[in-house]
Symmetry: C2
Subunit: 339 residues, 2 copies
Amino acid sequence: MANITDVARVAGVSISTVSYALSGKRPIAEATKTRIAEAVHELGYRPNAGARMLAGSRTNILALTAPMHEDTHPPALMAFVLAVVTAARSFDYDVLLLTEGEATTGLRRVASSSLVDGIVMLDVTTDDERTAVVRELGLPSVLIGIPGDTEGLTCVDLDFEAAARLSLARLVELGHTSVGLMGHAEQLYGRGSNYAPRFRDSFLEAGGESGIATAFHTTEATREGVEASLDGLRAQLPDMTAVVLNCNENIHGILLEVLREREVAVPAALSIVSACSSFSTEHFLPPIDVIPLPAQSSGQRAVELVVQQLAGFVDPHVELIAPTYQRKQSTAPPAAAAL
Amino acid sequence: MANITDVARVAGVSISTVSYALSGKRPIAEATKTRIAEAVHELGYRPNAGARMLAGSRTNILALTAPMHEDTHPPALMAFVLAVVTAARSFDYDVLLLTEGEATTGLRRVASSSLVDGIVMLDVTTDDERTAVVRELGLPSVLIGIPGDTEGLTCVDLDFEAAARLSLARLVELGHTSVGLMGHAEQLYGRGSNYAPRFRDSFLEAGGESGIATAFHTTEATREGVEASLDGLRAQLPDMTAVVLNCNENIHGILLEVLREREVAVPAALSIVSACSSFSTEHFLPPIDVIPLPAQSSGQRAVELVVQQLAGFVDPHVELIAPTYQRKQSTAPPAAAAL
DNA sequence: CTGAAAGCGCTTACAG
DNA sequence: CTGAAAGCGCTTACAG
């Protein structure tokens, strides 16, 4: 494999000139630049990654830690992973993938061997053990998700509070006055990821503010769980005409099936909004209105923030991404209003 | 960050001794080894990755190319990615993740800059453009999946032919004599991934050999598609008592729903086997018998083969992984036999 | 606008 | 069993 010396010889210049021509870090005569470019092309030259890391003390590699929890939805994780990789490449960074088995040890390892320039953390939980490592390493790092203690950390996440309000606002606009929230499984509201309680609390709060009757129920991803949740909400809200789902994907299909059996028409008798979902709600019958979990923009923004940290100092902060509402066919004015 | 010179000084030895002690490439006196280990621990020393790559001309990094096609099932891809990463780590390799946008350019880039020691390719299609690159690069590489032309390539995949036979054998054992195959969407049987036709052909062949009536129908992942497929099979097999699914995950749920509406009991009136599925069939009602797509063992084996190639010459070859059958609650003797 | 040279931190023959 | 030293292929002050 050709090296920089070969290129220099063919182009008739010194290796430093080749290096500078390639990095653009100092002005090079047009003619020289051309000869170097030709030599590079002719020899199929690519700078050796290891030599570059060693001499330049930067690797152009980002670590991406993507653990799988029990409640991790694989397609969601995949969407975030792809988003981060794509964004990283656009800044000329490669991505080293670290998984659960190596949550903290892996981070320590790649950081202290100077294998990576920065870190992007996925699927952050409230008391994530990785946050301590990231603080300790002092490497440019961005979390996608918000841990309990954000002190000294830079985080990116969907604005779950705004998403909760948006889901409700949309239904209120249509005339609904009694809206239930089918939540995740109970365990998610204890420790673990904090987006679930964030959503729930804002939802209930927004209901209070707008004078809407609201109720919340956890939901297990089984038929029984869905029925229990639905019945629980109806018990609290006898006139419920709409339900917001902030829950597991599987629950969506089960709910639609239960409603079909009970001959509850969607959206005629019950409107449905899926909030903060990473999956397509297009194939459901009917397609469900959705406030998507913005994998692409989260990944993009996270990488941007790492790159900015690499370029200079950035104050640790939390960035919330504004939710968007996608209208499909699962919402309508409440039946009572329609009569 | 401490370097090898620091360690050598603290341990009172030369840097070459430190290096050899760490790599184990030559015998070191027990006492010396201990002092070095202490120094390493005391200083929190980790060899610099770039320096190691440059001096050792190996990176301990594997490239993993994981493109997303239209018909890629994200959870499946995720399962393979995790399996490869986990296996790689067990051999002390890290994994650099390459995605679609960089299918061939990315491989060329990381290979010619000596960023990676080997390549694992996921989701290989019949006429995969990456195979040409892999052949040209001459880097240790293993494909998970089988392209049209395997010349010079090492491939690992589930034995789809055996899986097809196994699914049918199980049903025959139960007494079924008329079994339909609900396949993937039509486009998958043209170009693209070749596992679908491999499964179909073996299924039909096995049916012929065992004197069982079989039929095949492509299936679109919509309600209409599923009904069309089911009705199509029934038209060909009026006495059909079992169906093998080698198709999209979404089709499973839709099929169960259609059957429920039509009051076809599973497994009493119709047995179902899901073949080569990467997802859990546990949560369906009833849980569906499955021949899983072995993500874990495929990833494990692929990495092993790359590592073997790294260690010495390995003849390019195709390795098929034997299918396993997991009994759940979706199969039973045919109703006619039960009567 | 360009070059000669030091140095990044390792690995690995070469020597003893 | 251990050390001195070359060398991997770059980047980047230092000089002109």
